[in-house]
Symmetry: D2
Subunit: 337 residues, 4 copies
Amino acid sequence: MTTELVRVGIIGCGNIGADHIDRVANQISGARVTALFDVATDRVKELAAQVGAVALPTASEVINSPDVDAIIIASPGEYHAALTLECIAAGKPVMCEKPLAPTVEECEAVLAAEQAAGRRLVQVGFMRRNDVGYRHMKDNLTAGNIGEALILHCEHRNPDVPDSFTSEMSMTDSVIHEIDTARWLLGEEIVRVRVIAGKQTPNAASHLNDPQLVIMESQSGVIISVEVFVNAKYGYDVRCEIVGSNGVTSLGTQDLGQFVSDTRRTVTMPANWRVRFGDAYRAEIQDWINGIKAGEPRGANSFDGLAATLVAQAAVRAVKSGETVEVPVLEKPAFYA
Amino acid sequence: MTTELVRVGIIGCGNIGADHIDRVANQISGARVTALFDVATDRVKELAAQVGAVALPTASEVINSPDVDAIIIASPGEYHAALTLECIAAGKPVMCEKPLAPTVEECEAVLAAEQAAGRRLVQVGFMRRNDVGYRHMKDNLTAGNIGEALILHCEHRNPDVPDSFTSEMSMTDSVIHEIDTARWLLGEEIVRVRVIAGKQTPNAASHLNDPQLVIMESQSGVIISVEVFVNAKYGYDVRCEIVGSNGVTSLGTQDLGQFVSDTRRTVTMPANWRVRFGDAYRAEIQDWINGIKAGEPRGANSFDGLAATLVAQAAVRAVKSGETVEVPVLEKPAFYA
Amino acid sequence: MTTELVRVGIIGCGNIGADHIDRVANQISGARVTALFDVATDRVKELAAQVGAVALPTASEVINSPDVDAIIIASPGEYHAALTLECIAAGKPVMCEKPLAPTVEECEAVLAAEQAAGRRLVQVGFMRRNDVGYRHMKDNLTAGNIGEALILHCEHRNPDVPDSFTSEMSMTDSVIHEIDTARWLLGEEIVRVRVIAGKQTPNAASHLNDPQLVIMESQSGVIISVEVFVNAKYGYDVRCEIVGSNGVTSLGTQDLGQFVSDTRRTVTMPANWRVRFGDAYRAEIQDWINGIKAGEPRGANSFDGLAATLVAQAAVRAVKSGETVEVPVLEKPAFYA
Amino acid sequence: MTTELVRVGIIGCGNIGADHIDRVANQISGARVTALFDVATDRVKELAAQVGAVALPTASEVINSPDVDAIIIASPGEYHAALTLECIAAGKPVMCEKPLAPTVEECEAVLAAEQAAGRRLVQVGFMRRNDVGYRHMKDNLTAGNIGEALILHCEHRNPDVPDSFTSEMSMTDSVIHEIDTARWLLGEEIVRVRVIAGKQTPNAASHLNDPQLVIMESQSGVIISVEVFVNAKYGYDVRCEIVGSNGVTSLGTQDLGQFVSDTRRTVTMPANWRVRFGDAYRAEIQDWINGIKAGEPRGANSFDGLAATLVAQAAVRAVKSGETVEVPVLEKPAFYA
């Protein structure tokens, strides 16, 4: 592995983009931030100054800069496909935040371009694959500690969302993580999805179904039950359990610390996803950089991104129709084996 | 409250019946066992001798014995209604194990007879209402600690069942406990049920759907999700969580103790329902006896028994049809207010 | 075992005495309360009326009443020996709350009288021996799950005490439970004790050392470390861990339930010893009654009471002197084998 | 903060040294490894090749190399002081693994040289200060959640040690971590120490006292109780609890994940200190590098190193004598304020 620093350009410098800037600049090994783009020009100049990078006037200039070896895309999802295609055209590795693209067609265009380019350049930001807890679950399943997987229970609770958040976004922004987690843990595709919206929280905008219960099934029939509740108020709480034929394995409680007073044991929980998955994000970016330096692609690839969008879009149709939606199983190109 | 001992007759002396004999004779206050009936005549004589009771040749003789003040019915479910009706006719309090009866019609006959008799004589054995953990959940909900209930998650796992156990029995024998728990916790009726059988465990008889996921809805739209897995192998594991608009409350882990060795923390779980709910059963029978002595009926009543059977029968139809089944909401007679 | 009810007389009807009345009358099998004595005559009459017993003018009349088969002594410790001796003289089984007596001499007088009477009549109220958690620890040790015991860590925290409570009473009232627990878990005697009073809580009376750290050693050299903190404010918290040569075993957390809100998981702890050890007390009294009916003495005996007082008195001397105090090992009479 | 990489030389490339090489090269931001020294010349060459560094023939050449900006010392403790002094002479920041030096005199020489040099160059490797769990404890104490600290309970258990490990090394290698932790958590010095060796594990060499119980006191009288058990067999288990006047705060269980089978919940614990404190070590080194780049010294300083050695040496005397040993309180130079 070379000791040269990978020079990273970052497109989109909002919450998660700013976190990625800090991670590449200050928390991981082997990389530095050299160029940034965001529509908020004042903010991006300030961020650039903090890490010794330049703020460029367009995303294309970041992608094509001779001072940029690899790109992180953290802009809104609607721009993901176009920017990723531009990275492929430039022959540079790219870490695109989820989703790879909001539509299946755009995802397919990315896969086509990447295959035409002849080498794997695209990673999709499904950071849970780097979370210690999920890895232990996968290890327990793989080691045979619980027999074969039969049911996957997931809860995905977020303290709150802005009023602009929609019932469909619960699928494309939140449940998409469980979709990838399920595919990765179980090693098979999701073929069916239905969505149940029961009693609604008084704390959400009236147009939003919240909570929703998503019931999916995998190729072998594993039931994947996902509660998604984006105005859960009490904190950020992500849970997962695999029920196997001989036992179960689950994430721990992720508590951060405790104190006891007044006949109450008070345990602090992570306030949001940035706290809960901070270590996983750091590990994801470190692993991505290590992969670039070693010349080996790692993490979730374009096909994973396509498969997740395919299921998320089916879930969106299930939200709208109230019906069970079948999901076609795509053949995985050998290129992604 | 009188200090006279309530003289209890017990009909059906299998596993749970024998436990009830021991509870009344040796674990609670204010009662003693005076008469028993079971078709296994040798066994019942032995049990009778142990507690200073008599074994009578028929259930009717137990019910009508002048030495019996109150009756526990622990015989197979098909006999429950007829025996309960006989207790009502004798004017004696009766604790009937769940279900009150396998059919809605039989349950209705019990309610009619009890109302005609003019006083509440029947309690149904939904012992979870006496479990410390479930009571804490209900207290937390009632105290407003979690806002209003939106979702109820339940898991009901049993280590194994005999080959004669059917997919329908998962509803009438196992899920019926969650049905009563949901009604009791939420204070409203269940109006809809569907059952999903996904990937099946290799450890069950081929005719049995196991595990199954039961999705119910309450009048106000609370989603009640119940995983029932009767060959879970690893132990007896019952869990419950109420998701509220401002927080969640759940049963604890029910672990019995722990030791640590070889880089493993090993926590002992209850092996079966007799261990897990032993305290709840004891509290249930004590409370029943206290109610008899105080002249105040307590616990789950005939209407609760009817409502549970109504939903369980709908779940049976859902198992058979694979469809969503609507459950009519019965009007609760003022007699049971 | 006879089905006759054991008629219990109770002497001392304060907090714990009243709890025992309720237990014998309403929570256990095979006994009833027939006679009471307390210096608070109004209160004792009220309690007697509630359970259908009589309030007698002296303790002696309770002990010698023809309507009393067995006696519970819950009066102040200074009366324990005299009352226990009177029970022995009457030939009746007695459950004496801890301590058996405040002085070693009085305890020895009890043992002498009991041996002269020729049968075991005395049980001492060390209820932890009936606690599920401590039993699991003992089972784990006995089963060889943790190798041989090397260290015993104990914490004994009480929310608060009245101003009249003294540093010595922390030994005779609180630590005496750990003394018995250690002897029972380890199966050997305590031979050495020292007491360290470090920084004192601002929440205690100035004359009281609180918290104190008690370091004891057993015959085989097991170190028994006891933190006693009687104004711990935050709740009642008793913990215990055995460190073995191959592993450790400990009490669980004893939490009663939980709810989650506002990024905090709030777990309710027992507020006091009556809540924490309610089940153990009930089991202790049930077991005592069962033993009487079976004609087999059970639970902690007079020798256990003597041994505990011997160590507690050594601890009192250690509090006063600040020195390490050696404790002689008494020979256990075959009568108590 | 500059974006230039800090060029790090590492002296001593055994277990912890090799981990530090990997951390600087592959896990943190802002630094790279440029030069190594170890007496095991083959091994050091291999390690150097892996990270693009050079292996130099002496430690002095590493320290004085123009390609080295800062040094990590991970050689045996006896060389720490001399090497640290050489770093100070070279005017380069140094992160010295604990202990700063085995003797008080050597530590004092380091402080004298550093003060003469006129700026803070030395950090001591007490990585627990960077552990999330200990930080939460300190935050809870500082926030007033538990009142004022009265007792500190610590357990330090290691699975096993080589036969060459001595009773004194339990103090200088293991308990020294608790000494620093106590000083850092409580913000005051330790003034008294005694060591009790009770029953010994059959799993240790006969010359070794194991386990040992160390009782220390702070200036304000806080009792610090440390169980050190270096052949605990079952795993690596470090625990800590602060008992305050109004509540307690403690480390969590540090479990890594769980699965359930065969009526047992099996929770995986960290196998050794490298797993348990991996994140803390990484954070420590990252923080050290950040401090160098910002020109601000951070972490434990020379005075902390001296104070820890002073107490550890007193503990060694306490092991040998069996007596309570008083520890003088050193005045902290303003230079280290």
